[in-house]
């Protein structure tokens, strides 16, 4: 009875094909093209999406430099419209989502639940090819005569119709989105099916790591939201080319319908972007505090309620249209603050009385929490219609969502520093990592704070030139300084990857991790595991290495928790 955890056993029975590690498949580029291994696909996703981050970041730097003077002429008005449209599109459609659910989740989720691969490996490969071709299609707009799409990443009708935006750039944008949209849907199917059907024995739903939980909820949200976007894009294409009048007044259509459809996808999309990064922070903070995640079940229910509420808040992007039901969307949006607050307090509770190790990953995660707190608090203002009327389409909104998405970048970088060693087998340089963190974290604040003030002083979004006002100019210059700092942090990251390339072997478990990915080798073998520990809590690897330090419940719940982690009631296995 004292030996709680059985020694690990091999996962493969005699009847399962052996010898996966010496893979006899093709090599080189053909290996990349034909692989169905979730780790290689996930790595392709990660590399491609970080490339997109760099491309989108370059657009951002050009935008920021254009705005350093009121009447600057670095780019023309038309070029500016293309730049911010593609900046938003690349960051939202091609970086943040694919990085999280195509990249890290693709690699980590199957390993965290003890699965040999994703449920549909060939569909997974197809997802990547659709994503890559979608990205190429969207960016190809820059090489057409009319330039890239220029109607903003939200493509509001009727600006996006064929009269106001003729040209192939807009069509390429729609086509690229169709491809990446399907890629996201397939990944959502894959994640949901994998998590529902491929968990290891003993890995019950309420023992899944929070990252996996968040990816499950993300998968469900993708299935709810993305088909709506795809349908909307088809309608938009029909309006542009087949003479329908779904979104045009002249033929009896309703322009606001596009906004309803777009934001019905768009707001769940915000959480599709955010939840994976919440999950990353929730993996990183407990490991580097050497404690279980505080309030595990509260965390799960918070994630579920965010997902549930996210379907009922889309029109808070449309308050100023004057045609939506203000109180309903206001209270729904305000309520999202509650589960988000629970998460923040749970992260603090996890660190409380812990033994915090300030590795780069942990710093990034703490930076994520702080930056997300700022973005979240300013989001509460925008849930109130009168304050939204006041700040809508000004730089206040720009600053709000840049606080949020830069928090996601911090979280994502944390994820890379945390799981990078598992994926590649080698550690990243910690000193460079910390330099990167401080540039990224401080740069983000220097970047967004002047924008909040600019918004309150009335500067609208999406303007390349603005009225002469020394204060606006000064604030814009500061924001550009922040953008440059963020740019430097990205360069530091790229340098770090180069400098640390195959230098310091990580070992299987460099951080004393909690979850199953730290039980296998770095990088994991083909089909992920040679052996698995018994799973008796949401921290199987920790329980294996520290059997005497199991999670404790609160007060009277201690006994119940004790039996939950398992005392070896072997008789119960019916």
């Amino acid at each position: 009875m004292t030996d709680v955890l059985q020694p690990p056993i091999t996962i493969a029975g005699d009847d399962q094909p052996q010898g996966h590690d010496e893979h006899h498949g093709p090599t080189g580029i053909l290996k990349w093209m034909t692989t169905t291994d979730h780790k290689i696909i996930g790595l392709s996703y990660t590399v491609t999406s970080v490339l997109m981050l760099v491309i989108g970041g370059l657009f951002a730097e050009i935008i920021r430099f254009q705005l350093t003077a009121p009447n600057n002429s670095l780019v023309s008005l038309a070029q500016y419209n293309e730049l911010f449209t593609m900046h938003g599109s690349v960051m939202i459609y091609l970086f943040a989502g694919p990085f999280a659910f195509g990249g890290l989740a693709n690699i980590i989720v199957p390993i965290q639940i003890g699965a040999p691969d994703m449920a549909f490996p060939r569909l997974n490969a197809l997802s990547y090819w659709l994503y890559l071709t979608g990205a190429i299609t969207m960016l190809a707009g820059f090489f057409t005569a009319g330039g890239a799409a220029n109607f903003g990443w939200v493509a509001y009708a009727p600006l996006s119709n064929s009269i106001n935006t003729p040209g192939t750039g807009a069509d390429l944008w729609i086509g690229g989105l169709l491809l990446t949209g399907f890629s996201a849907i397939f990944t959502g199917v894959n994640l949901t099916a994998t998590i529902f059907y491929l968990r290891a024995p003993g890995m019950t739903m309420f023992r899944m790591p929070i990252f996996t939980w968040n990816m499950l909820v993300t998968g469900i949200l993708i299935l709810l939201a993305f088909p709506v976007l795809t349908a909307g894009l088809v309608m938009l294409y029909c309006d542009r080319h087949f003479g329908t009048h779904i979104f045009s007044v002249s033929g009896g259509g309703v322009p606001v319908l596009w906004q309803h459809i777009f934001w019905f996808w768009g707001h769940p999309e915000v959480y599709i972007l955010a939840l994976p990064f919440f999950g990353m922070a929730t993996e990183i903070i407990p490991v580097f505090s050497r404690k279980p995640v505080f309030g595990y079940k509260g965390m799960v229910f918070a994630t579920l309620s965010i997902a549930a509420l996210s379907l009922g808040v889309w029109a808070h992007h449309m308050f100023t249209t004057g045609v939506v039901l203000l109180p309903f969307f206001s209270i729904m949006s305000l309520l999202i603050a509650v589960p988000t607050g629970i998460k923040i307090f749970n992260w603090i509770g996890t660190m409380w009385r812990g033994q915090i190790w300030f590795s780069t990953a942990m710093l990034m995660a703490i930076g994520f929490v702080v930056t997300f707190l700022i973005g979240g608090l300013t989001g509460i203002y925008l849930a109130s219609p009168p304050l939204d009327f006041f700040t809508h389409d000004t730089y206040f909104v720009v600053a709000h969502f840049h606080s949020v998405v830069m928090a996601l970048v911090l979280g994502g970088m944390g994820g890379l520093y945390y799981w990078g060693p598992k994926i590649t087998g080698y550690l990243l340089n910690e000193r460079l990592g910390k330099i990167q963190f401080w540039f990224l974290f401080l740069g983000t604040q220097v970047f967004t704070f002047p924008q909040y003030l600019l918004g309150l002083r009335g500067m609208p979004r999406r303007v390349p030139i603005y009225p002469h006002d020394p204060e606006w100019k000064m604030l814009n210059e500061w924001s550009t300084v922040g953008a440059v700092m963020i740019g430097i942090s990205t360069i530091v990251f790229v340098v770090n990857v180069g400098v640390s390339w195959k230098k310091h072997p990580a070992g299987d478990n460099p951080w004393d991790g909690h979850t199953l990915e730290w039980f296998t080798t770095s990088p994991p073998p083909h089909h992920n595991f040679y052996r698995l520990p018994q799973i008796r809590s949401e921290r199987p690897t920790w329980d294996y290495h520290h059997p005497e330090h199991r999670s404790l419940g609160h007060g009277t719940h201690a006994d119940e928790m004790h039996s939950l982690v398992g005392d070896g009631f072997e008789g119960h296995t019916s």
Binding site: N71, L326, I331
Partner: protein, 263 residues
């Protein structure tokens, strides 16, 4: 914690003099002042909560640095604490929502008034017509048409667009509203200060979106009547401004000081 809920409500009651501005201004209309007070209430809540959470994070980060190889107590749940930080935010949220409803109802109210203005947004300019008279003011991009309104009078706006979606935004009114094609958006405001206020299109509407300026000139009631009478028959000359398109230039006139006299 109950004080946290009461604060935003209290801030609406209180005048803005004793509470900091948090970057916003009282504005030039009655509703803009309500919005400003709501802003102050939200800001107090945000600053208090934000500071509280940041201090917690800072304390945890400084106090619980890794000192040795010990493994801390593996506490995972504290049900009363978790309940507290679920219930208290819900109460705060409902407080904020109540305060929001009060101001929102003021903003969407449409009291009857004699001053009606039809605002028509187009690529890339504004047309202000005064029903009941023949006065029409039209101006494109940097011509910056001026909407003249009387002070201390309810002004009712019927806002629409002829082509794409535009944003009617006057910073000093702490207010914006979309001009939608096919929809007439109605709202009413009452300016309390005379002065000239800067307005601009906020919703991306194409190439010259950034040049789609206008001005709102708030004058005394008698000046307004005189202005209306004087332009009764000269509206043709105002409308002729349409002909002088300035679409090739990306030049902004030197002096466009946003807002004035808003405080």
């Amino acid at each position: 914690m109950r004080r946290l809920v009461a604060l935003p409500l209290a801030a609406i009651v209180l005048s803005g003099c004793t509470v900091p501005n948090f970057g916003a201004n009282k504005g030039a209309t009655t509703t803009s002042r309500s919005v400003f007070h709501l802003w102050q209430g939200f800001s107090i809540g945000a600053v208090v909560i934000g500071a509280f959470v940041c201090l917690l994070i800072l304390y945890a980060v400084l106090r619980y640095r890794r000192t040795g190889d010990d493994i801390p107590k593996q506490t995972q749940y504290h049900i009363p604490l978790e309940m507290t930080y679920t219930v208290v935010p819900i109460l705060i949220v409902f407080g904020l929502f109540a305060a929001t409803l009060v101001v929102e109802n003021k903003e969407v109210a449409n009291p009857k008034t004699n001053v009606n203005i039809d605002v028509n947004a187009f690529q890339w300019g504004w047309k202000f017509s005064y029903p009941g008279s023949s006065v029409v003011v039209v101006g494109q991009t940097t011509q910056s048409p001026t909407m003249v309104i009387p002070v201390n009078t309810d002004v009712h706006i019927n806002l629409t667009s002829t082509d794409v979606i535009h944003g009617f935004y006057v910073k000093a009114f702490n207010f914006s509203r979309f001009a939608l094609p096919g929809v007439v958006n109605q709202f009413t405001f009452r300016a309390v200060n005379t002065g000239t206020y800067f307005g601009q299109c906020t919703q991306l509407c194409g190439l010259y979106h950034s040049l789609m300026y206008f001005q709102v000139k708030v004058v005394t009631t008698s000046e307004y009547a005189a202005w209306l009478a004087a332009h009764q028959n000269s509206s043709a000359s105002q409308a002729s401004q349409t002909a002088t398109k300035q679409q090739t230039s990306a030049h902004v006139p030197a002096k466009y000081t946003p807002s004035s006299g808003a405080n």
